[in-house]
Symmetry: C2
Subunit: 399 residues, 2 copies
Amino acid sequence: MITFEKAHTEVMKNTASWGLETVHITASTDRILATDVFADRDFPPFHRATKDGIAINYEAIHKGINAFPIEGIASAGSPQVSLKSVSNCIEIMTGAVLPDNTDTVIMYEETEIKNGTAVILKKPQIGQNIHRKGSDEKQGDLLLKAPLKITSAEIGVLASVGISEVSVFKNPKVAIVSTGNELVDINQKPLPHQIRKSNSYSLHALLEAERIKADLLHLADEPAIIREKLSEALKTYDVLLLSGGVSKGKYDYIPGILAQLGVEKVFHFVMQQPGKPFWFGVHPELKTVIFSFPGNPVSTFANYHIYFKDWLQACFGLKSTAFEAILTREITGSETLTKFIKVKTHFESGQLFAEAIPENGSGDLTSLARSDGFVKIEAGKGTVRKGSCVSFIPTRKII
Amino acid sequence: MITFEKAHTEVMKNTASWGLETVHITASTDRILATDVFADRDFPPFHRATKDGIAINYEAIHKGINAFPIEGIASAGSPQVSLKSVSNCIEIMTGAVLPDNTDTVIMYEETEIKNGTAVILKKPQIGQNIHRKGSDEKQGDLLLKAPLKITSAEIGVLASVGISEVSVFKNPKVAIVSTGNELVDINQKPLPHQIRKSNSYSLHALLEAERIKADLLHLADEPAIIREKLSEALKTYDVLLLSGGVSKGKYDYIPGILAQLGVEKVFHFVMQQPGKPFWFGVHPELKTVIFSFPGNPVSTFANYHIYFKDWLQACFGLKSTAFEAILTREITGSETLTKFIKVKTHFESGQLFAEAIPENGSGDLTSLARSDGFVKIEAGKGTVRKGSCVSFIPTRKII
């Protein structure tokens, strides 16, 4: 049995990568950008009017002119026009190219237009209402540095530099493998001694948030079947997420069979609660990575967030973010185990507060729906007092 | 021109609803649960062993027995067995039904098994290592209260009560409508006076996070075309999100044409920055709701988060969560306008800190990729000092 810290380090040592692919921009949200993105031209690419009104040459203001005959119009999407006489003006629309021979834009609200002449009501500032060429970014500037999770803001940048096919990191092919003869499918009516599968569906949803469409497999507690199906799965998938079958029971065949199939155990059993019987290994030739979580819902859910999420980020070269929350009630840890305690949080005045929820052990599935994450209390810490700042692992979006 | 507060209130008065639908559980993540979910039986449905080991009747302990001949085995997924003699034990696996006539489970680590007899190494507690029937939830208990956003934790609950088809609120049919002759598609090489569309793709990504697959339309600045296409769109969609064409320019035809098509304007122009020329209206018969945002990328992005997100939540009966962040530098607001200022945040010791990023007006698209959200500074607030707590609108996931 190893410590939590050691287990986490071991998992993070065994990252993998699955190459790159290109996806259409509309399918790239939440994917990990794989190549840097540069400005293909200046941003904005021209002196751009930011108001609807008139464009003038400020020399006219110096000359004391305040009534400007309108010479023409500059609309957004039209090529640049030119002001012929500095005592005239050109009507201009937001987004239009600033006409040649002009340097200042006065918005309609500060003019009065009559008989083709704009009278200005207020002395303008030279250069006002112009979003200057290259003032956001210069051609060749780095706009997005890979690796980076693509969100709506990055999508806007990708679109504006013309990247409709986005280079992203390939996601692993993942199978979620449930085990346990007590499990029946959602649609079935369980007999008194049976329960429905739930871990597989929770894991499926968690992976979906990472844009990974996982396959669901189920193994009966039957060595021959387990061996055959796992052998196949090791070749087909990059990652296996198993739940169940890794404790000390008579029918916990998984560790033995994985070893027979050539998977190298990195560790089994971690000094943590929940999630202690976690088995982790890698197939040295096939490179398949196996996260074999204990079957209790809270254990699987915790270990996914504690290990798998960090590991996946690291596979893409991303650093995981560590969060802390402030306890609103004391929490007591364990002498020997790193404890992960379910908490409900609230965010107030810029501070994240957490409070342990009543819970009933690692089989207590419904408590996960009442909690927002886990706080981590290290082994031997004893009682951590109200007001303390503790490590927090969110299991849903908080902000 | 109305205040921001008034505009927000008006938007929230015009919520809509689009009925219910059922989706498969694997497609229900991030959807809004529409009906309450109750426990279909006790959770757990039987006294469930939480450890691998032996099950005994505690009477034996009272009698001083510490060596228990093994009578049989109780495995997970098998019907309940029964202990015949209180001086014997039954081997039991995690997840199995506690045998009749037993009340305590001792884990393997605290026994020594030889020649079919288990000797216990440590005096057990009566009732230990049993997850008692109904101790999490009783049959009929409310497990999930609608409306509620479905995440992986709720998926686990839905699966375990056998709901494979989930009743959720229908999302609106949304069209994203870009306008402006200066815009070309991502794949096109823009001429010097043109730029590529980006707002449509950002909005598309934002709606995708709400599980709304929006259609993209583009309108040239040509009244006849706008009229025809908007007339069609008003009938086809529940919501139109427009960007551009709502300012004071000569070619800002949108407000006029919407009025001709029978859309009732709720307001136009809000005392806010960015996003001032926001036009909002509803078609009284068709019930189409129109958010017509100004075309600048920052304006559209801000108004989506400020108005549309809250409105969509309210349409499902969900309350929006208000967040605050702590300023690490002072920020100066406006005398007359509610300001939304782009900030970069960092989360430390349970606290969310925000700092304004250098910015270049509402055309500065790339600044959105450098920021995490907006802080709101009310009109007339002047300078808000370092250390102050201010309203924060996240535009990406923070925690």
